[in-house]
Symmetry: C2
Subunit: 236 residues, 2 copies
Amino acid sequence: MKSARKSTATKTAKGEQTKALILNTALEMLHERGYENTTMRAIAEKAGVSLGNAYHYFGSKDHLIQAFYHRVNEDHLRASQPALQKESSLKARLLSVMRLKIDTLEPYHEFAGVLFQTAADPHSPLNPFAHAAAPVRRDSIKLFEDLVAGSKARIPDDLRSELPHLLWLYHMGMILFWIHDPSRKRARTYRLIDQTVDLLDKLISLASNPLMRPVRKKALKMLLDLRDLEAGEAED
Amino acid sequence: MKSARKSTATKTAKGEQTKALILNTALEMLHERGYENTTMRAIAEKAGVSLGNAYHYFGSKDHLIQAFYHRVNEDHLRASQPALQKESSLKARLLSVMRLKIDTLEPYHEFAGVLFQTAADPHSPLNPFAHAAAPVRRDSIKLFEDLVAGSKARIPDDLRSELPHLLWLYHMGMILFWIHDPSRKRARTYRLIDQTVDLLDKLISLASNPLMRPVRKKALKMLLDLRDLEAGEAED
DNA sequence: CAGAAATTTTGAACGAGTTCAAAAAAGTAC
DNA sequence: GTACTTTTTTGAACTCGTTCAAAATTTCTG
């Protein structure tokens, strides 16, 4: 994890094709052999390109991991549509989305740990505190925006606008738990999700109470402070 | 981060001496040159031993990082004693300890990021969800046990026994923020600590209210569930 | 279509973490 | 003090992520 070179944009149909080939090969191997055994050399070889060529399109192995996360995210987004169409209560929507997230992630359980390791890197776009503009991150938050926007719950505007980020953070926490969950069929994770979704729903109702307005304002202010540290170098 | 070999216990006075020499050299270089520039080769060379010898005593570079964390922790523990002697309210004790933590960590700010990366590794003893028996982790929680034990606050037993872990988790969160804090003299971190300590103190009072007993019990139960996932493989 | 410019592709090299078999040194028992 | 066992130490080798200059190919321009 030395460099930070960006993945090069392709300028050509041929390039596009090669890039896709490399990515698909990588994801396949990641799935079949896990992280450690998926070396850049192995990817290049299986894809039938040179090692240097792989690096031309993906500046580092991390970029491949991000691409993986992006892919899984798309799958999850797609899988969530039916539930989001059907359910209208915030609680039911959240519960479905969270369960489906674990379902989607499950095939990759054994190597998901490194995903969190890269997320902990201060420069990773998955890092909760890092610059929010990173596309991977925006994509994965988008789902929670839809989730909130489409629900009929009466939620004050200040909370409503912040809620997607909060839920995204919560969902990262659940993934962290899932990574370490040794229980059969990941039963403890599913149980925890049931419990926490219930709790969250109650908390949101509580926080939406007009009486809570001052407290809520204060808490949300602090959360905004927590987020997006990238902005200014020079604040005192 | 491939291997998981343990640091070998030394069997000899000579060995003990060499191990200490390597560790001290490593910590010094870590401090002076940061993580990236402190290679195992450089450590070995400066310590006047062979590369293989360094690996004999520290199974991986991660072990050195853990040793670093351990050392910083001892410094912090020592620095906290006067305040813990003087202050008796939970809030004042926590505030001092947290501020001193940042003070202690500050010299290492530029490379502290990797500390969190290793902490995110499912196998790291710093990982909040991993096996709690790891000595590094126990040591760093110990401080918060003292902090709570020595305070005169009236706190129900169930919460009191869980509080050290909660505070430790909170303190990890503050470190995470600090790592990303670009503000001058880390002013935002200190401000956040002031605010959150205030908030925590209020929350603890609130949770200690007899009326909250049922809710508290439930929440603590869930937290216990969250912690120590290492136990059983087979729960359904 | 020829030549120039841009893009893709290659292959070799480097640096760093890690492993390991064997040499050197230290400790132990008689 | 010698022969053994154990521990320490070495140095070479291996793997893997990464870089880079240059070759091959494709695209663009007139």
